[in-house]
C-alpha cells in the first residue's frame, strides 16, 4: 500500500481533499493526514489551489512507494 503523509495545517487541507476526491483514502495519524491507496496516489495541483511554495513543501513523508512526479501539474506517488 502506498501512503503519503501531509501535515494538517490550513495551507495543506486542500491537498488531502483533492487526494480523497481522486479516490485515495484519507485518515489521520496524530496531526498528519495519512493518504493511502493500493495503487498510485495522484493530486492535481490546480485543483488544490496551492501556491508554489506551499505545493512544493506539502509532503511530510512517503511510505510503500516513491514520488515519481511533483511539478506544477501534479504530485504522483507510485507503489514501490
Amino acid at each position: 500500500m502506498t501512503a503519503l503523509y501531509v501535515l494538517d495545517v490550513p495551507e495543506n487541507t486542500a491537498v488531502a481533499k483533492v487526494a480523497a476526491e481522486a479516490g485515495a483514502a484519507v485518515g489521520k495519524v496524530g496531526p498528519y493526514f495519512e493518504i493511502t491507496a493500493d495503487g498510485p496516489i495522484v493530486v492535481d495541483r490546480r485543483a488544490t489551489g496551492c501556491r508554489h511554495a506551499v505545493w512544493y513543501s506539502c509532503v511530510a513523508g512517503v511510505a510503500g512507494g516513491r514520488i515519481v512526479q511533483h511539478d506544477k501539474d501534479a504530485l504522483r506517488v507510485d507503489p514501490a
Binding site: 501512503a3 503523509y5 495519524v29 496524530g30 496531526p31 511554495a53 511530510a60 513523508g61 511510505a63 514520488i67
Partner: protein, 216 residues
C-alpha cells in the same frame, strides 16, 4: 534531560563595510533604524589590526545589526558576485550565493509594505516580494551586498509544525548518517517517524522542548 532555554534573541550580528556612508544612508536614513551604539577603537594587538569604527543600528526588539569600518583596509576580493565579505566565481551556483541573509521581523502586512515603500523610494529598491509557505517577505541587498529580508507571519505557527520540524530534523540526521542522502530517503524515514511518534502526539506535549509556542 531538557536543557533550559535561557537565551534572549540576537544581541548583535556584525559585518564589515567598506562604505560607511552608504551603510548609514541605507540603515539610518532610508530604513529609519536608529544608531544606538558605536565604538571608536585604535588598532592594537599583534596582527597590525587597523583603527576601526564599530557601529550599531537598532533592528527592533533591542536587537542590533553592527558594522566594522577599518581605516585603510582595501576590499579583500575582486569578485562581482557575493558581498564585500565573500566573493564567488562563476562556478558557484546562484542559489548558493543568494542563500545567506538576515531576515528582520515585522508585525503585519502594513508594516511590511511600509518598509517596501521606504526601500522603493531609495537607491536599494525591493528586488522580490514573495509569499512563502506561511510568511510573506521582501528582499533587497544593502550597499555592501548583504541580502536583507523583511518578513511577516501570515498566520501564527501551529504546535503541530513544531512536531513536524523535529521529525524532519531527526529524519535528516538519520539520512545524512548514511551514504548518498536524498530527499526521497528523507521522506521515507520521516514517514516511519510519523507512524512511530505522531499518533500519540497531543497539543501541549510537544517535543519542541523549551518552546513556549508549543506549550499552548
Amino acid at each position: 534531560m531538557t536543557l533550559e532555554h535561557k537565551v534572549r534573541g540576537v544581541d548583535h550580528t556584525a559585518f564589515p563595510t567598506f562604505d560607511p556612508a552608504a551603510t548609514v544612508r541605507f540603515y539610518r536614513d532610508v530604513l529609519g533604524f536608529p544608531v544606538v551604539h558605536s565604538i571608536c577603537a585604535a588598532g592594537w594587538g599583534p596582527e597590525n589590526h587597523p583603527d576601526f569604527i564599530h557601529f550599531f543600528f537598532d533592528i527592533g526588539n533591542d536587537d542590533r545589526i553592527a558594522f566594522f569600518y577599518y581605516f585603510g583596509l582595501e576590499p579583500v576580493h575582486a569578485h562581482e558576485r557575493g558581498d564585500v565579505y565573500a566573493g564567488f566565481g562563476p562556478e558557484v551556483p546562484e542559489f548558493f550565493v543568494r542563500s545567506r541573509h538576515l531576515a528582520i521581523h515585522v508585525d503585519d502586512q502594513d508594516d511590511l509594505l511600509e518598509y517596501r515603500r521606504r526601500l522603493d523610494d531609495s537607491a536599494w529598491p525591493v528586488e522580490m516580494q514573495i509569499q512563502h509557505e506561511t510568511i510573506e517577505s521582501i528582499y533587497t541587498h544593502d550597499p555592501n551586498g548583504y541580502m536583507v529580508e523583511f518578513t511577516r507571519a501570515m498566520r501564527p505557527v501551529t504546535p503541530q509544525e513544531d512536531l513536524d520540524a523535529n521529525l524532519t530534523i531527526d529524519a535528516l540526521l538519520d539520512v545524512v548518517a548514511e551514504p548518498e542522502p536524498s530527499f526521497g530517503k528523507l521522506l521515507a524515514r520521516k514517514a516511519e517517524l510519523i507512524v512511530e511518534r505522531a499518533a500519540d502526539w497531543e497539543v501541549g506535549a510537544s517535543e519542541a522542548t523549551g518552546n513556549a509556542r508549543a506549550q499552548v
